[in-house]
């Protein structure tokens, strides 16, 4: 039993625990924060698999940008406390059915396809090295330089547009 396996077990438990925490907490802000934790744990999974770039993207894009947006929306709408009581009537049976389907699928995959059949190529050292990062940077700033640069203008335009629509004007006009 090597260190990776132990790490994996701990992380897997953490991932499941945070996912459950997200689902079960009645406060939407707590749910969002649990989701951030979950994303962070998944990012460590990527690191274990030797994919540093995806790990960093997971942290910055998902745990960072998208979740901040979630939190903003939750807080702006003031929807942080879930009203106690009734969920949708059809939700529980539907959720139970889908959960059963998922478990059966996973069990089938684990039993029938658990052992690799045929030729499986493990990822080479090259895939997981920083060399792949370099390759990606070269593509992003070489071949895809133009789309990359236009995107920056696009973001500027979106920002200007949002400000135009939301800005308070002098004299009380919204």
């Amino acid at each position: 039993m090597n260190i990776d396996f132990i790490l994996f077990l701990v992380l897997a438990l953490a991932a499941i625990a945070t996912a459950l925490g997200m689902l079960l907490s009645r406060n939407a802000v707590y749910s969002a924060l649990f989701l951030v934790l979950n994303f962070a744990v998944v990012a460590v999974f990527y690191l274990l698999l030797g994919a540093p770039f995806i790990a960093m993207a997971q942290v910055t894009v998902y745990a960072g940008a998208i979740m901040v947006l979630f939190l903003f929306v939750i807080m702006l709408l003031g929807a942080d406390e879930l009203a106690p009581g009734k969920a949708l009537p059809w939700q529980r049976p539907l959720a139970a059915t889908l959960a059963v389907v998922l478990v059966i699928e996973a069990a089938y995959l684990l039993l029938a396809r658990g052992a690799p059949s045929g030729l499986v190529t493990p990822p080479t050292e090259y895939t997981n090295s920083t060399e792949s990062l370099r390759e990606m940077a070269l593509a992003l700033f070489g071949q895809y330089l133009l789309p990359f640069e236009i995107t920056s203008i696009l973001l500027l335009v979106a920002m200007v547009g949002a400000i135009v629509l939301a800005k308070q004007e002098k004299g009380g006009r919204r």
């Binding site: 071949q143 895809y144 330089l145 133009l146 789309p147 236009i150 203008i153 135009v164 006009r173």
Partner: protein, 477 residues
């Protein structure tokens, strides 16, 4: 590293984008003089137009095959810049009158033109996608620019939601095409597609068509058009109805003609049906409209159908060049006539939202002859009645379609035009034969816009050869 040739290929777009960014910054110092912002925006468009015209006859590709410069892109870009200039001219007095004068109006308009130009030059689906967003996002904001009016806000939101929805289709189509051909570059897709016939590719192309169909308002993806055109500030509607259409059709043509000739057999039938349905439905529903903005919205849907007709034989190399030239000519004719008509609408619109019913045009001839005659010219041109540019455009278009062997479609087009005469002529009848009162806004740039548009609508129809020659020379690289 980008080479000088890369910059050369994209020079007008880069200049306009930099100009727009600078104007955004400068505008915050021009607190009380938003008129100056308009002039600077117009100057930027004019300089870019000059640069674009200086590129006539050049042809190159740049940024690792992401963009291309050719006769087609030069023609479309010049048309876009002219429509940008007309958009500024329409807005100049209108935004003051409506109390929505803010410098960002012009900056957003410039950014939208940047996106439109980029779209005509894009040869990679990723650039097509980003350019489409670049032209759409400013338009969403401009549609909602009159924020105190619920209708304008609704127009902006509706346009935004349906626009985002349609972008989803486009992106999904692009991913499927990538899945089928392992590339987003148009010529690479062509090379990969001709070796295999692939269902995935056809579905991807169809989804891309849906995405563009939303932008150019083709039935059945036209639902947003009447509400958005009616609710948006009229100057925005005038610009949007021309600019977004040109850009959408330009990208549609480039993507399909460059990347998808291999599946032309499937696509031609779909395009045929879309064009026919669009012409019929647009013209039929327009009959029952009483609001001039809604009527022109349905008219713009119908015209999208006519223009789409030119694309039906895109896969047939014997016919395609002529029919595409006819389509480009029709697009130019539509832009001139359309801007003129929206100019007249702006001249009659009051700040309280009155003056937009067709009945408000009653007796216009007896109040202001020039305006009524100009509107008559535009209505006749939209029908396709001589001596107007619309008639010449329809003539080229129908001839090209019949040469391509689509006589049935041409007949549908002619019948649809006959039907359209009913509602266009109703405006004319109102102006000449009814009694009425109206207040008319006089303003130099507005008068110049509709006056020049009316003059060109008649004048070009008398000597259309040079414009058709330019359209024929505007080949894809």
């Amino acid at each position: 590293m980008p080479q000088p040739q890369d910059y050369q290929t994209l020079l007008p777009v880069i200049v306009l984008a930099v100009w727009a960014c600078a104007l955004l910054l400068l505008d915050s110092f021009l607190i009380q003089r938003k008129g100056l912002t308009a002039c600077l925006a117009a100057a930027g468009l004019a300089i870019t137009l000059g640069l674009t015209l200086s590129q006539i006859g050049r042809s190159s590709s740049g940024f690792s095959g992401m963009v291309v410069l050719d006769g087609f892109s030069t023609f479309i870009n010049a048309l876009q810049l002219v429509s940008g200039l007309l958009g500024v001219a329409l807005a100049y007095a209108y935004v003051k009158r409506m109390g929505i004068e803010r410098g960002e109006y012009y900056t957003l308009l410039l950014f939208s033109v940047v996106g439109m130009m980029l779209m005509a030059q894009a040869t990679d689906l990723i650039v097509v996608f980003i350019a489409l967003e670049m032209l759409s996002i400013p338009l969403y904001v401009l549609a909602a620019f009159n924020r105190t009016q619920a209708a304008s806000e609704e127009a902006g939101l509706k346009y935004f939601l349906l626009g985002a929805f349609s972008t989803g289709f486009l992106v999904y189509g692009i991913t499927l095409v990538y899945g089928a051909t392992a590339s987003t570059n148009l010529s690479a897709i062509f090379a990969a597609a001709s070796s295999t016939s692939n269902l995935l590719l056809t579905i991807g192309a169809a989804l891309i068509l849906v995405g563009f169909g939303f932008k150019v308002a083709v039935v059945p993806f036209h639902m947003w058009t009447p509400d958005v055109y009616q609710g948006a500030p009229t100057a925005v509607t005038g610009f949007m109805s021309s600019g977004a259409k040109i850009a959408g059709f330009a990208a549609l043509l480039r993507v399909f003609a460059t990347a998808f000739p291999a599946i032309a057999a499937d696509m031609t039938d779909i395009l045929w049906a879309l064009a026919a349905v669009t012409m019929i439905l647009g013209n039929l529903v327009a009959i029952s409209q009483t609001d001039i903005k809604r009527m022109l919205a349905y008219s713009s849907i119908a015209h999208a159908g006519y223009i789409l007709m030119a694309f039906v034989p895109y896969g047939n190399p014997a016919v395609a060049p002529v029919s595409i030239a006819a389509g480009l000519f029709y697009l130019a004719a539509y832009v001139i006539t359309n801007f003129g008509a929206w100019g007249v609408v702006i001249a009659l619109e009051q700040p309280d939202g009155k003056g937009l019913q067709i009945s408000d045009y009653s007796g216009l001839f007896w109040r202001k002859r020039g305006l009524a005659v100009a509107m008559t010219v535009f209505m006749l041109s939209l029908i396709g009645f001589p001596p107007t540019i619309g008639m010449v455009g329809k003539f080229y278009l129908f001839r090209a379609i019949i040469d391509g062997g689509f006589t049935g479609l041409a007949i549908i087009g002619v019948i649809a035009s006959l039907v359209s005469a009913f509602y266009y002529l109703r405006v004319v009848v109102n102006m000449f034969m009814r009694e009425g009162e109206q207040k008319i806004e006089r303003e130099f740039w507005l008068d110049l816009t509709w006056g020049a548009a009316a003059f060109l609508t008649v004048a070009i129809s008398l000597a259309p050869g040079w414009l058709f020659y330019l359209a024929s020379a505007a080949g894809l690289r």
